[in-house]
Structures are given as C-alpha cells and as structure tokens.
C-alpha cells in the first residue's frame, strides 16, 4: 500500500518536473515570434497555437504536482485554530470533496475528448492544428493524474488515523 503511494508520488513529481521546463520553451518561442515578425517581417503561423498547447500541457499536469507539494490555495482560518484531531477530520472532508469533484472532471473531460477525437476538432486558422482536440485530451490526462494523486493522499490519511498528529 505504502509502496503504491510512493510510486504515485514519484509519478506526479516526475511529470511535474518534466512539464515545468515548458515555460522556458514558451518564453523562447514567444521571443522568436517577436523577432520573426518585427525584424524579419516573416511572422509564423504556428507559434501562437504551439505556445497555447505547451502552456495547456503545463497547466493540466500541474494539479497532481501541486498536490504533492501541498501548495493548493486554501483558506486556513479555521484550520489553524483547531486541534490536530479536528484537523484530521477537515482533511478527510477536503480529500473526499477533491476526489468526488475530480472524478466528475475525469468523466466529463473523457466525454469531451472522445467527441473531439471522433472528427478531430481543429483550430480553423491558417495553421489549422488540432489544438481544440489536444486541449480536451490534456484536460483528461491531467484530471486522471490529479485524481490518482488525491486517492493516494486519501489512503495515507486513513492509514494515519485521527489520533496521531
């Protein structure tokens, strides 16, 4: 059980650490576009859609990673005032809500991705990349990774029990 949890942590961390480099590429591509447009008078048709695809990759895959880092934004006003035991129960509620909401997200993004894949939705621009289809597939993958990480966190919480700090 613990072994499985660790593997999941490692997967979330590894995807995050790989995906974070995307922002450097995005910065480089955006600068290239400025140079291409203003200095060489030859704007690209592709940079805008590639930048969006790369950012969507980083954004969707970030959910699980931020979970491992415990960096999701939450209001800790009440949390900070109560006993460790009571905190455990709040953690439990939060974990259940997280898993439930993300399961719905997995379901709905799967539905959207399948519909988009049926005819391959494209952008309709001169580049006409399959960006809309890709965004839906990325949302699905990110949601799956995120929900798996949440299940692992939940299992750990249960194993720890409410008594310990």
């Amino acid at each position: 059980m613990l072994r499985l949890c660790e593997i999941m942590d490692r997967i979330s961390r590894a995807t995050g650490q790989a995906a974070m480099h995307v922002y450097l590429i995005v910065a480089l591509l955006s600068m290239y576009e400025v140079v291409a447009r203003y200095l060489m008078n030859a704007p690209t048709v592709w940079s805008y859609e590639i930048v969006l695809a790369l950012c969507a990759l980083a954004w969707t895959l970030s959910g699980a990673y931020v979970s491992v880092q415990r960096r999701h934004i939450a209001i800790t006003l009440i949390y900070d005032m109560i006993s460790p035991r009571a905190r455990w129960y709040l953690d439990l509620i939060a974990a259940l809500f997280t898993i439930a909401a993300l399961c719905v997200l997995v379901y709905l993004s799967f539905d959207l991705a399948v519909k988009a894949l049926r005819f391959i939705d494209r952008s309709g621009s001169a580049f006409n990349s399959p960006l809309p289809t890709l965004l839906k597939c990325l949302l699905f993958s990110g949601a799956v990774l995120f929900v798996l990480q949440s299940v692992v966190d939940f299992a750990r919480l249960i194993q720890r029990g409410p008594k310990e700090v």
């Binding site: 447009r37 621009s125 006409n128």
Partner: protein, 327 residues
Amino acid sequence: TASAQAETVLRTQLGQNAGDFVYRFISEEWMPKIETMTEGRVKFEAFPTNGVVPSNEAVDAVADGVLQADLISPVLYSGKDPGYALIGDLIAGYDRPDQMATWCMHGGGKEFLQQLHDKYTDGRVHVVGCMPYSREALVANTPINTVADLQGVKIRAPEGLSSEVFRRAGATPVALPFSEVYSALEKGVVDAADASAYVNNASQGFNDIAPNPLFPGIHSMPVYEFVVNKDVWDNLLDADRVSLETWYYAAYTALSRVADIEDLKLVREHSKEGSKVNVIDWAQKDRDAFRKFAAEAWSDFSKQNEIAGEIYDSHIQFLTNLGLLDE
C-alpha cells in the same frame, strides 16, 4: 392544444459583446417582439459572445440543450469542417449581403448547414436560417486602389480561407490575435487588417491610424446562423415555428438595412473635402479580378471533403447565375 403549451425560453448566445450596437439592436429591439408574435409562448434570453460557452462550441451547447439557440457565425466552426468556412464566410464571394442571404436562405445554404450540423451534433439541432448583415470593410494604412496594389501588402487575416485568398492575390497574410491589430497597424507592422463593419471600425478608431479603408469591403461577409435545439423546436406549435422563422428573417434584414445606413452616413462624412480619411471604392473590374483569385482558393479549399465540394459547386452555380462569375 395552444392553451396547454408551456412557455418556452430560448437561452440564446450571440456573436457580439453586450455593449455592441448589433447585440443591443437584436436583444433590445427585436427579441421582445417574439413574445407578442407567439402570444407569450416563446421568449428569448440573450447572452453575449463567450457568455455561456466559448463561441466555437456554441452549437454543441445548443445540441446538449444547455443553450436553446445561437445566433453566431458558422465560420467559427471551421476547425470542425471546411464546409463551415465556405458557408460562414465565402471570402471575396458576393458583392452585397442580400446576395449571400439569398443563397443561404433560398439557394441551398441553409440545407448544407443543416447537413453539417446533423453530422457533428448527431441531428440534435435545427437550422432556422443563415444570413450576413454586413460586408466588412478592410482597414489599411497604405492606399490599396486596385487588385495589383495588393502585391506584397501585409494583411492580418486569422482564418485559413481568408489568408489563402490574400496569399493568392499576392499579399502576405499575417496571423495576429485581434487584440494586437491596433498597435500593429499603427506601427506599420501590418499594412491592412480584416476587422469589422465600417461603423465598428470607425468607432474603434481604426480610421485614425489606418486612414485608407476599403468600402464597400472586398473580402469578408460573415453569415450569422439561427440554430435551435431540435427537441425544443419539435415541441413548438407550428404557428410558433413560423413566427421564429419570420422573426429571424425580419430581424436580420432590418439589421442589415440599419447597419448599411450607419456605414453610409459615416462614409459620406469621411468623403467630404478636408477629411483625413481616404475611402477607397474598388472598381467592378478589380472586384471581379480579386474574385477570380478567391475562386481558386475556394476550389482548393473545397477539395478537403465531399460536402465542402458540394457547397463550393452550389456557390459557383449561384454566383454564375448572378453574373458575378463568368460561365
């Protein structure tokens, strides 16, 4: 029976921002009329562009029954099928909105649109109609007096078909997000840009930075569809369906007239002596020559699939009948 008929609310997403002239004209002046026409059985509720869903997914939301109707341009669905581009905005095709409206309403356009929507929404929406209301004016900071002047001109054209048409006419198409068009024109990064109707361009200040607008425009004339969820449509009384068809026809014809008057009023003002704006009206021979370049682009574009080919054939037939294309 009629008395048992419950009130139907058509939550409808439009293609314009809430403050825009077109949005207010349709939602404030025309939408309330449908209640009187149907004796209170049908009601509209309007939402601005992207107000409920991103515009390029509006028809899917109508199919799902989340929205009940949309009034946006099918050109936004070009990414789903090239056929939508050929119906939604036949670049450099028709000279006047009423010609395109006739093709869409009576020349087969509506039926093609229904066929495409049937394919992509599994038959869950009904097409009431499709019409353009205005020919967009091309804004330019250098005078483009003839089709030959297009040579080497950098034009912002975001969509696949329009950039292909301009490329064939010798121009250099540039893909820029709309938010950047203003400064790009001002700094001369692009020489011209497709924007909107003359009155909209003027109110956004485009004529100040790019004082050589082409009016009437030469390229874009987007069609606005009226699509209703199929179940909702099927449950309406026959009389209410006819009312909705009539309402759409009247509302968009009125819109076209009013927009035309607004455009002409401004153009006359800008054509006066001492005006800083140089309104350019292409000669018919240049319009015809540009249409020939465009026709090659439509032809290539339409080879992507079967229905696009049929839509292309239908346009060519119609344009030839109108005398806009040689036999």
